[in-house]
C-alpha cells in the first residue's frame, strides 16, 4: 500500500519509540500531531510524557533537548519551520555540535532535530527558507535531507540511532507524496548517496525537495533533447558522499548541481568546488548550478515561481551543459 512521506516519518518514529525507551519526542503541538501531522497518534500510543508539547520557546526547547541527550535520552525535537532554527542556533551550533569535542569525547549528543524547509504556495519570506548550507558548515552536526517516503522512513530511523546531533530537514512539498515502503524494517545507510536515475550524458546532483523535480526534468530532457542524465540524491550533506558523484562523473564528464536554497553560498558551491578539486580532469564543461535567485521568498505565487528553480530551468541548464560546452 502506498504510504505518504508524512506517514513514513510517523512509522519511523513509531518503531523507534517502541524499540528504545530512551527515544522521546518534543515540540510545539506534537501531542496534537504537530503542524504537519507527522506525530499524529503517537501521544495516544506512547503518552504525553514521551510525546511532549512545548511552549513556543525554540531556544529553550532545543537547549533542553541537548541537555537531555547529553544525559542519555535520544530526543527527537520538532522545529516547525526551519526559519525558526534562527532562534535555536546557539543551542544547535555552540552547544550540540561542539559538546562531544569540547568534552574530549566524554559526552555525545544523540539528538535529532526534525524540521521542515522550502517554499510552496505562498508561505512567504519567513516560512519558506532552505538553510541547510548553514548547518553543513558546522563541524559536529550531521545534516540529512530525505527526498521521498522511503527515504524519510529509512533515514529518520538511521538519524535516531546516530550518537551525534542530526538536523533532519523535511520538505513541505514532499509530505503528500506517496510510494510503497518496505514491509520489514529498514534503516537507510547514512553517508551514501543514491543514484535515482541512471544516465550517461550528464550527472545531476540534488537532494531533498528538489529530487522529484530533477527526476522529472531529466525525463523531459531525455524525451525532448535526447539527453540521458544520471540523477544522484545526496541523501545527506554531512556526511557528503563525493565518491558516488565522482564515479558518475567519470562516465558523464558533466555536472549540474540543483537545490532550492539560494545559489549564492549554497550547498551546490561546496559540491562543485569539491568535485572540481578532486576530478578536474574528468570535467568536459564547467560545472553548472541551479538554485534560487538571491531574493527572500516572495508571497505572490507569480514571484515565488520566478525565484525558485523549476523544471524548465533545470532542463535549460542540462541543455547548456551538454550541447553548448
Amino acid at each position: 500500500m502506498e504510504t505518504s512521506y508524512t506517514e513514513a516519518l510517523r512509522r519511523a518514529l513509531d518503531e523507534e519509540l517502541a524499540r528504545d525507551p530512551a527515544v522521546v519526542i518534543l515540540g510545539e503541538d506534537v501531542a496534537a500531531g504537530g503542524a504537519f501531522g507527522v506525530t499524529r497518534g503517537l501521544a495516544e500510543r506512547y503518552g504525553v510524557e514521551r510525546v511532549r508539547n512545548t511552549p513556543i520557546s525554540e531556544a529553550a526547547i532545543t537547549g533542553l533537548a541537548v541537555g537531555a541527550a547529553v544525559a542519555g535520552l535520544r530526543p527527537v525535537l520538532e522545529v516547525m519551520f526551519i526559519d525558526f532554527i534562527t532562534l535555536a542556533m546557539d543551542n544547535l551550533v555552540n552547544q550540540a555540535a561542539k559538546y562531544r569535542y569540547m568534552s574530549g569525547g566524554q559526552l555525545s549528543v544523540p539528538l535529532v532535530v526534525r524540521t521542515q524547509a522550502g517554499a510552496a504556495g505562498g508561505a512567504a519570506a519567513q516560512h519558506s527558507q532552505s538553510l541547510e548550507a548553514w548547518l553543513m558548515h558546522v563541524p559536529g552536526l550531521l545534516v540529512v535531507t530525505p527526498s521521498s517516503p522511503c527515504e524519510a522512513y529509512g533515514l529518520l530511523k538511521a538519524a535516531i540511532r546516530q550518537d551525534d546531533p542530526v538536523v533532519f530537514i523535511e520538505h513541505k512539498r514532499l509530505y503528500s507524496k506517496r510510494e510503497d515502503l518496505p514491509a520489514s524494517e529498514w534503516v537507510a545507510p547514512l553517508g551514501q548517496a543514491r543514484v535515482v536515475r541512471a544516465g550517461v550524458d550528464a550527472t545531476v546532483v540534488t537532494y531533498g525537495g528538489m529530487t522529484p523535480l530533477v527526476v522529472d526534468a531529466a525525463a523531459r530532457a531525455a524525451a525532448e533533447a535526447g539527453i540521458d542524465a544520471e540523477v544522484i540524491d545526496l541523501r545527506s550533506l554531512v556526511p557528503l558522499d563525493v565518491d558516488t558523484v565522482v564515479q558518475s562523473l567519470q562516465r558523464t564528464h558533466r555536472l549540474l548541481v540543483v537545490h532550492e536554497a539560494v545559489q549564492n553560498g549554497g550547498v551546490g558551491a561546496e559540491v562543485a568546488a569539491r568535485v572540481a578539486e578532486v576530478a578536474f580532469d574528468e570535467l568536459d564543461a564547467p560545472i553548472l548550478r541551479v538554485g534560487a535567485a538571491f531574493t527572500p521568498i516572495p508571497f505572490a505565487p507569480e514571484l515565488e515561481r520566478a525565484v525558485l528553480p523549476d523544471e524548465q530551468r533545470i532542463v535549460s541548464a542540462l541543455l547548456r551543459l551538454v550541447k553548448e560546452a
Partner: protein, 331 residues
C-alpha cells in the same frame, strides 16, 4: 456598562464601524482562502476585533504599530485602506507591499504600520527600536505592539520587557490573550495565566481587561497611552479574548471545545457593542446602514483587488537592496 466613554456616541459608532469592517474583511478573506484564492497560511482575527479597534482608536497617525501573524485587523484599525490590504493578501502588485509580503507581513509605512512578522514574538523588539528612535529624536510618538499569549514563550519578549523598562521606552505592549496557541491551550504553555504578570517585576504599569468589550479596551488603552506619553515609559495592556476562527483557514479544530466556543459566541464583541448601542437609543437602521456601507466598500475593494495585476515575474528580485541593481557595487 460603567465605562466613561459609553456616553460618547460618535466614538462608539466609529468603533462599531471599524469592528464591522474587520469582521466583514476577515469573513471575506476566510471565504477566499477556503476557495484557494489566497496564497500561504491565513490567520483570521474574528472574535478579537475589539482589541484592534479599541487600541488603535486612541493612537495618532504618527504612532508606530507592529503586529504578528494575525495582523489584518490591526492594520485596518491603524487606517490602511481595505483595498490595499486585501490586494496584498491576494498577492497583487497594488497591495500594500506590492504582493511581496502577504498576509503575515503587512506594512503601511505612511500610516505608521511598520510591520507584521510571522515569527511569534519577533515583532516585540522591533517596536522597542521604533520607540527608541522617537525617544532619541525627542518626538512625541509611541510604538504599540500587538502579540498573542503564545509570544510570551519566546525569550525575546522578556528581554524586551527588561529593555523597555530600563530605557524607559515609549512603547505599549498589547497582549491578545485568547487562551490558545495553534492547537494547544494556555495551560500547556505556561502555569502563568496572564502574561502581564511578567511585566510586573519591571514596574511596568499593567491593565488587564475584557478584550471582548471594546469600550473597556478603549478606556484602558487611553489611560495607558496617556501614561506612556507623559511618563515616557512602557505600559502593558492584556486583553482577554477568544479566537472564534481556527488557527488558520482550513484548521480542522479537532482540539476545540464546543461548549467553550458556544459560550464565547455569546460574548461576541461585535454583538455586544451592537446591543449597547441599541440600548443607548441608536436606531437599528443606523447600525444597519453603517454595516451596509462597509459591506459595499468591501465589495468594491474585492473587485479592485481581484482584478489588479499580479507582480511582474521580471521584478521578482527588485526591492532586495536599496541600491539600484545596475550599480556595480550592488550584490
Amino acid at each position: 456598562m460603567s465605562s466613561p466613554e459609553v456616553g460618547n456616541q460618535d466614538l462608539c459608532l466609529s468603533l462599531y464601524r471599524m469592528m464591522v469592517r474587520i469582521r466583514l474583511f476577515e469573513e471575506q478573506v476566510g471565504k477566499l482562502a477556503a476557495a484557494g484564492q489566497v496564497p500561504g497560511l491565513t490567520h483570521l482575527s474574528t472574535g478579537q476585533e475589539a482589541v484592534a479597534a479599541g487600541v488603535c482608536a486612541v493612537l495618532r497617525p504618527q504612532d508606530y504599530l507592529f503586529s504578528g501573524h494575525r495582523a489584518h485587523g490591526h492594520t485596518l484599525a491603524k487606517g490602511s485602506p481595505v483595498t490595499a490590504v486585501l490586494a496584498e493578501i491576494l498577492g497583487r502588485e497594488t497591495g500594500l507591499c506590492r504582493g511581496r509580503g502577504g498576509s503575515m507581513h503587512l506594512v503601511d509605512a505612511a500610516r505608521g504600520m511598520l510591520g507584521a512578522t510571522g515569527v511569534v514574538g519577533g515583532n516585540i523588539p522591533l517596536a522597542l527600536g521604533a520607540a527608541w528612535a522617537a525617544q532619541v529624536r525627542g518626538e512625541d510618538r509611541l510604538a504599540v505592539v500587538f502579540f498573542g499569549d503564545g509570544a510570551s514563550g519566546n525569550g525575546v519578549f522578556h528581554e524586551s520587557l527588561n529593555l523597555a523598562s530600563l530605557w524607559r521606552l515609549p512603547v505599549l505592549f498589547v497582549c491578545e490573550n485568547n487562551g490558545v496557541a495553534e492547537f494547544t491551550q494556555r495551560e500547556e504553555h505556561s502555569r502563568v495565566a496572564f502574561t502581564s504578570e511578567f511585566a510586573k517585576p519591571y514596574d511596568i504599569p499593567v491593565r488587564v481587561v475584557d478584550g471582548n468589550d471594546v469600550l473597556a479596551v478603549y478606556t484602558a488603552a487611553q489611560a495607558l497611552v496617556h501614561w506612556v506619553r507623559q511618563a515616557g515609559g512602557p505600559a502593558y495592556l492584556e486583553c482577554q479574548t477568544y479566537r472564534l476562527s481556527g488557527h488558520y483557514v482550513g484548521d480542522a479544530q479537532a482540539y476545540r471545545d464546543k461548549a467553550e466556543l458556544a459560550a464565547w459566541r455569546e460574548r461576541d464583541p461585535l454583538l455586544r457593542l451592537q446591543r449597547q448601542l441599541l440600548a443607548q437609543g441608536v436606531p437599528a437602521a443606523e447600525l444597519t446602514a453603517q454595516a451596509e456601507a462597509e459591506r459595499q466598500a468591501l465589495a468594491q475593494a474585492l473587485e479592485l483587488a481581484r482584478t489588479a495585476p499580479p507582480p511582474a515575474a521580471a521584478e521578482a528580485s527588485a526591492y532586495v537592496y536599496s541600491c539600484a541593481r545596475e550599480t556595480p557595487t550592488c550584490p
